[in-house]
């Protein structure tokens, strides 16, 4: 991998890191998710700068270019994140459904009790 490609990847990774921390600062992303991103950015920088290690992994996977190893790692990470977010969304949907149901029931029960009180006071 040429120095220029290495430099481009490192600069992009650092920009991504800055963007993630900015999102964290503005409370648009949680600390747990930030940790995931931090882990992958550090891994990308490490693999980019450590050519010997990248070559060894390249040989293990039997791919021609070291850059392909980086792409493979990126794809795996994206897949893991998608599964993680699918899980989170499913859990959140159930929680929102439960909250909406309980809210509706308590509102109905409160209204029924109010009606009963009004009927009693009318008598």
């Amino acid at each position: 991998m040429s120095i220029r490609v290495q430099l481009a990847i490192v600069v992009l990774a650092l920009l991504l890191l800055g963007f993630i921390f900015d999102l964290l600062r503005r409370k648009k992303i949680s600390e747990a998710i930030t940790l995931w991103w931090l882990f992958i950015i550090i891994l990308m920088i490490f693999l980019t700068l450590n050519q010997d290690f990248l070559s060894r992994i390249k040989d293990v996977f039997g791919v021609a270019l070291p850059f392909s190893v980086l792409l493979l790692f990126s794809s795996c990470f994206i897949l893991v994140m998608l599964i993680y977010f699918s899980m989170k969304i499913s859990v959140l949907s159930i929680q929102i459904k439960d909250i909406a149901q309980e809210f509706a029931i308590f509102k109905a029960v409160a209204s029924e009790n109010q009606n009963k009180k009004e009927q009693q006071s009318a008598k």
């Binding site: 159930i94 459904k97 909406a100 149901q101 309980e102 809210f103 509706a104 029931i105 109905a108 029960v109």
Partner: protein
Amino acid sequence: MDKLLIIVPAFNEEESIIRVIEEVKNVGLSNDLVVINDCSTDKTEELIRNLEINIVSHPVNLGAGAAIQTGLKYAQINNYDLMVVVDGDGQHDPKEIPKMVVALKENLADVAVGSRFLTNGQSGKQKIHWARQIGIKIFSVLLSLIVRSKITDTTSGFRAFNKRAIKFLAHEMPADFPDADMLLSLIFAGFKIIEVPVNMRERIGGRSMYSGLRSVYYPFKLTIAILAVLLKSFLERRK
């Protein structure tokens, strides 16, 4: 005497809801009635409030299964012994409710399902699209094979539950299509289910939850849901 609750889940049923409520009232059972309004965008809620019927209104549209689950939670909170679901679209004939309740008690069952296919293989006055008929047949045969007991109508929403089933389903209920997977979960959890022959009618108005693109999504979702229930049951048995 058992405390009975009849719930009517409704989503955009302005054409049928009043008739359904009147019919339920005329059944003559000593029961309470509550309509679960799943955030209708038409006049359904206004019509129910004018009738001074108890209503639980979802703040957002949650789906047919979630509406029934809200009814189950309502029944659990208010300590009802039995609960019957009558759809707000007019397909279910409320005159059949006593039959469902009696069948539940006489057979010591936990859940009674109103089947339109037990009456000489006819679906009463209801016409069912051929594609849906095939779907119902496939899932009924599949479910019957899994549980080794004949189940004829997996998509029937006309159901009666006892207190035990109310408690269980208040926490375990699919949000969109509460069909074969729900019955399977109940059977694997040790609940007794019986089918009762009932007459079903054409819907008076509104739109079926099985229409449009949802009819394409439905068999896939149900297959996945059945597999999930089977896997869960298999893992629980191994523990």
